[in-house]
């Protein structure tokens, strides 16, 4: 029976190899992931924002504790992906998009996401939903749908503390954020 301990050692080694190597996380399998790839941005659309911050970049960004800004480092290590799709829509695109938005809403509901913000004004709608995983938040989904004008879909996947995330983003506002936003607005 000498073989048994060897097998156990090998199994342990293989099962821990992901952590050892820091292998990339498959975000599509995580509970906080919402598939936004189904939303195709029309080529003729204007004012497009397409942000895709993947797990490999975030892992790299969070690497090393010695590179200053430990708060940001700690936060980035809790986020696996950020996906944003936003673009202007006309009436025709609105009609094409509406079923997708409704489908996403239904999926969030059936998968027990908690809707923490819901604002509806006429045909306009803004929702913020979070997916809980024990005491942490596994995902955040933002939807702003303004028929005939604009749609914004944002999905943040991770295992994060929402208060820390919002705190950090609000923390950007002293100087740095304002500067970046001014640059963005002036573009």
């Amino acid at each position: 029976m000498k073989i048994l301990p060897v097998i156990i050692v090998l199994i342990l080694l293989f099962s821990s190899s992901d952590e050892i190597y820091g292998q990339e996380v498959d975000v599509t399998k995580l509970p906080g992931y919402v598939d936004l790839e189904r939303i195709e941005i029309p080529t003729e659309a204007e004012d497009i924002t397409d942000i895709n911050v993947g797990s490999s970049l975030l892992k790299m960004a969070a690497d090393s504790k010695e590179n200053g800004d430990s708060k940001l480092s700690a936060l980035l290590s809790q986020i696996y992906a950020v996906r944003v799709k936003s673009f202007e829509i006309d009436d025709e695109t609105t009609a094409t998009l509406r079923p997708h938005i409704e489908q996403i809403q239904q999926e969030l509901e059936s998968e027990k996401w908690e809707r923490i913000v819901y604002v509806k004004s006429g045909d306009e709608m803004v929702t913020v939903s979070v997916k809980h995983d024990n005491e942490k938040i596994a995902g955040l989904m933002f939807i702003a749908f303004e028929p005939g004008s604009e749609v914004v879909l944002a999905n943040i996947v991770g295992d994060f503390d929402l208060a820390a995330l919002t705190g950090l983003v609000l923390g950007f506002s002293d100087g740095e954020l304002e500067e970046i936003l001014e640059d963005l607005d002036s573009d």
């Binding site: 060897v6 090998l10 790299m60 208060a163």
Partner: protein, 185 residues
């Protein structure tokens, strides 16, 4: 082309690299002295190499570097297990000694592999510059995300949620937390 010429041509690359044995080296050199065809081939090969070495050195774009690194790292993560699977585990039931060696090799590889790719400065698999660039990109991505969320909130529902949606998120979260704390107490 004579059969001796084809043999010499096959050795030209190694000859230029200085990888041939003393006997082979002498044989190729002697042949080049007497064979104009092979000498022309040799000169052409030598000129081609020289032109490569005289090209200016270009730096690889950051994105490409990351893609290569990502692909390399993912191959490295799978190489060890598949190697052991093919050479080790299948033999375990019948060859305990080989299994022990395989296990030791696995431990050795797993101990050596991560360290061999670590940057001593950052104690991680990436250099300090790469981390800083990635950090800037990630930070900008987050800022853009929340900027977009905040802006769309303002434009779509102007004024209903206040100045910035994250504040609303925080407010809602605090209520949720207060409720849960109240429930626990």
């Amino acid at each position: 082309m004579k059969s001796s010429c084809s043999k010499i041509c096959a050795l030209l690359e190694s000859f230029l690299d200085g990888d041939l044995s003393v006997e082979e080296d002498a044989s190729v050199a002697a042949h080049l002295q007497t064979c104009p065809g092979c000498r022309a081939e040799f000169e052409s090969e030598r000129l081609l190499r020289n032109s490569f070495t005289s090209l200016p050195e270009l730096s690889c774009p950051e994105t490409t570097t990351r893609l290569i690194e990502k692909a390399t790292l993912s191959r490295q993560t799978t190489r060890v297990p598949s190697y052991l699977w093919q050479r080790g585990i299948r033999q375990l039931g019948w060859r305990p000694t080989a299994a022990g060696v395989a296990a030791l090799a696995a431990i050795f590889l797993l101990l050596l592999y991560p360290t061999s790719h670590r940057d001593p400065e950052t104690n991680g698999p990436y250099t300090r510059e790469e981390i800083l660039v990635a950090r800037q990109e990630a930070k900008l991505g987050l800022i853009l995300t929340f900027h977009k969320i905040g802006k769309s909130e303002k434009e779509a529902i102007g004024g209903v949620l206040g100045k910035r949606l994250p504040q609303a998120i925080r407010g809602s979260l605090q209520k949720v937390l207060e409720r849960s704390e109240g429930g626990q107490g």
